[in-house]
Symmetry: C2
């Protein structure tokens, strides 16, 4: 590089940066296009409802456009058509709940702001030719500032944010337009009826054509998150942690254990789904006042469990190896705790999916008995010959995390049972399920879930499905 | 309760439910109003920029309304005024970055969709009187379905979601309206210029009147999160965990330790701030291509540390008491590890806030030396008289979590150093800071932060500020 004065150097660097940007642009765009093309298929395959949703939006929009196109209902074409088209574009959301929420917000806000705008316009009219614009400006200012501030309230933001936006918009439009337009009532009437046409066509298409219910999504997400944690706990490489210390490390398996990671960050997703679900009418197995809030409680507790799983995962992947002699001593208790917690979570997930009272109590009590046994074992003098605490730490930490996880699982079970009673889940004959699992144990190759939960549809990352619990774990399944 | 036929019972329950809803409505509304009133003050005090923002929106809206009101620039009043007002309502966001992003999205999408809409209109015109509406409907359908699907791409959703929405809207409006309106070019021109007027007034007011920069918020949030974890680690009740086991439990203190909880769920907030920040021009100490992505890396690592803190917090609050003899043996190493990690995080946070190269290396190395010492201590035969492992578990788990936290801190330090080199942070004379801390140690009452970081503005929950490290910790501060 040449040595220049700082100013010219800076200039050159700016020029070269601009040139670099323009030179890199086509390359970047091409890369983006290629990436997009390869991602499109995956995106559509991951959730085919995305394709359906896109088609639904296109359908609604063409319908509203063409409906208007053939029947000019209002004299002023531009303004009115616009509102219907605009409503469809803005209101049509992925789930029925979100669409209904936005549609109702928009309709009510338009109605309310229209009425208030008319009032403001009337009041401004009374104050003479000079006072009118000042008063109108003042009204718009006060209304916009107040509504904007109200949007900061978390509860209002969650449910009525869009309504407030439309309130500000409609009020300003009505009060300002009204000043020059004598037929202010007609404007308000036009706006409201076109919003209703657009909104109702969105809601109708969204409900009739392959509806996506936010409530159902939330319901499945909560069950799926419990299953992800259950998958981790029953995964061979977790179960065999105490054995692999003897047999050498099976690191290739450990990359499969990332399924639970998505549980850690599911909070905002769960909250928005719960907000949408509250707008939804009764559908499928869910009535209108379904206890959606309880799902959030389960979600919080599942996440607490996932934090422990994250810590556990860190220990399983660490370089520090547990001592084989110690492992072999606590192996049975730890394996049982892990498997019973996993089975309990799976039963709970099954219960939530099938909307039946889950029969998780026996797994919890088994896990708790094992936890107590483990504590007794650790208390016994078995350890005297092993004074090297450093070698004991990894196994003991893992054991203590497993005890934590058993406690978390119990809390999750409590909140699921609360949900079951709040939402009046069906009770099933408790003798059926154990018999079924008895049958399952004769066929060690079949994964547990197929047996224990007849209605289960497990959506797990493919890798987890490829790893049914190995024969070594079957002894514990009998417990 | 009377025994009725199921149908009439259901009816009665529906009626009573509806009646209950209407009866509860005024009570609910009143409660909401009272709660809102009491919350308003807190909301405004928590972040006074909310009030400023509300006033700014009111100002922009009245300006655009009145500006139009006095100078009817276009013949068709209704349509054009509406676009300017609408743009202000929809585009004006809390931070400059969000406003700029939405404004640019809106302007570019309007331009592009306007051009394509014109093209579609021209193409449809060529196909005769019967083909025209069919072709237009098809165009609208294809365009809406494609754009809606594209909105599902995560990267596009994060940055261009609003632009795509406006693209669908404008394209539909132009192509449908254009059919009856001969002056389609005028419509497109009007729409674009009013959008530009509305958008630019938003951007100008948002930048000139007390700007809120998303980048600055992200910068402070990242530093604040590190400080929250540092606060936890240097909190007396954590430091004295190994002591309180001797002196009895100080449970009243432990409710103060919740500050770190917000770190666990800060992911979505950080990501949206980073997305907004990328739209912002250079401001304050940040240039245009500031490495905002690196902040997300730091955020991820800070959250990993917070998960460990969460597990640690669970152990500190558990009923199982650590054995005093064991505690006293590992106390010094654990306290030092905790304090040095805390000091390191605080140095990093200070470095980020002041945009200087942080001098955290010595704290990290001290913490790592202590971790190694602790391991040696645990390996030694000190423990032979203590065969009761159950009594050892709590302390050993806490110790092992602290070792984990030291590792996490090192990772955070690495990513902050990477940020410092990417963003060309100023280097400070490394001899200054230690001297200053030397001075600080003579005054044990002053909190650490004031000494170590001249530019620090710590926004912590009041409770943390009330608890400067007690005299018992000062011995470790000298290290």
């Amino acid at each position: 590089m040449e040595i220049d004065s700082p100013a010219s150097h800076e200039k050159a660097s700016l020029f070269s940066r601009v040139r670099w940007w323009f030179e890199a642009l086509p390359k970047r765009l091409t890369a983006e296009v290629i990436e997009t093309a390869s991602n499109t298929k995956r995106l559509a395959q991951d959730d085919p409802r995305r394709v359906t949703h896109s088609i639904k939006v296109g359908l609604a929009l063409s319908l509203v456009s063409l409906f208007y196109y053939y029947q000019p209902l209002y004299d002023n074409f531009g303004v009115s058509a616009m509102w219907a088209v605009m409503t469809v574009v803005v209101v049509f959301e992925f789930s029925v709940g979100a669409t209904l929420g936005k549609g109702l917000n928009r309709a009510l806000a338009t109605l309310l702001a229209g009425a208030l705008g008319l009032g403001a316009h009337h009041l401004a009219n009374l104050s003479g030719h000079i006072g009118e614009p000042i008063l109108l400006g003042l009204f718009v200012f006060i209304q916009a500032a107040t509504s904007t501030f109200v949007r900061f309230f978390p509860k209002i933001k969650a449910r009525y944010d869009y309504g407030l936006l439309i309130f500000i918009l409609t009020f300003s439009l009505i009060s300002v337009s009204g000043f020059r337009d004598a037929e202010i009532l007609e404007l308000a009437h036009k706006r409201l009826s076109t919003v209703l046409i657009g909104g109702s066509s969105c809601v109708i298409i969204s409900i009739l054509v392959r509806p996506v219910w936010a409530g159902e999504d939330l319901h499945n997400l909560i069950a799926l998150n419990m299953e992800k944690i259950a998958n981790f706990l029953e995964h061979p490489s977790v179960i065999e942690y105490f054995k692999t210390s003897e047999n050498g490390n099976s690191n290739d398996d450990k990359s499969f254990l990332q399924g639970y990671k998505s549980v850690l960050n599911s909070k905002s997703n769960e909250e928005s789904l719960a907000n949408f679900a509250r707008w939804e009418p009764c559908h499928g197995q869910f009535h209108f006042r379904h206890p959606w809030k309880q799902y959030l409680t389960i979600g919080i507790r599942t996440r607490e469990c996932a934090y422990r799983i994250d810590a556990l995962s860190g220990h399983l992947n660490s370089d520090i190896q547990a001592k084989p002699e110690i492992c072999s001593k606590i192996q049975e208790a730890c394996t049982t705790m892990s498997l019973e917690s996993s089975k309990c979570l799976r039963e709970l997930a099954c219960g939530v999916r099938a909307m039946t009272h889950p029969s998780s109590a026996k797994h919890i009590s088994k896990a708790k008995i094992e936890a107590r046994k483990l504590k007794l074992l650790l208390k016994s003098s078995l350890w005297e010959q092993d004074a090297d605490l450093l070698a004991v730490i990894p196994s003991v930490t893992v054991a203590s995390l497993l005890i934590d996880i058993v406690n978390c699982t119990e809390k999750i079970a409590d909140s699921v049972l609360e949900l079951a009673s709040l939402a009046h889940f069906k009770s099933v004959d408790p003798t059926v399920s154990p018999e079924k699992s008895q049958v399952g144990q004769d066929e060690p190759d079949k994964p547990l879930t197929v047996i224990a939960c007849p209605q289960v549809v497990i959506i797990v990352d493919g890798s987890e499905n490829d790893n049914p619990p190995g024969p070594s774990t079957n002894r514990h399944l009998e417990m």
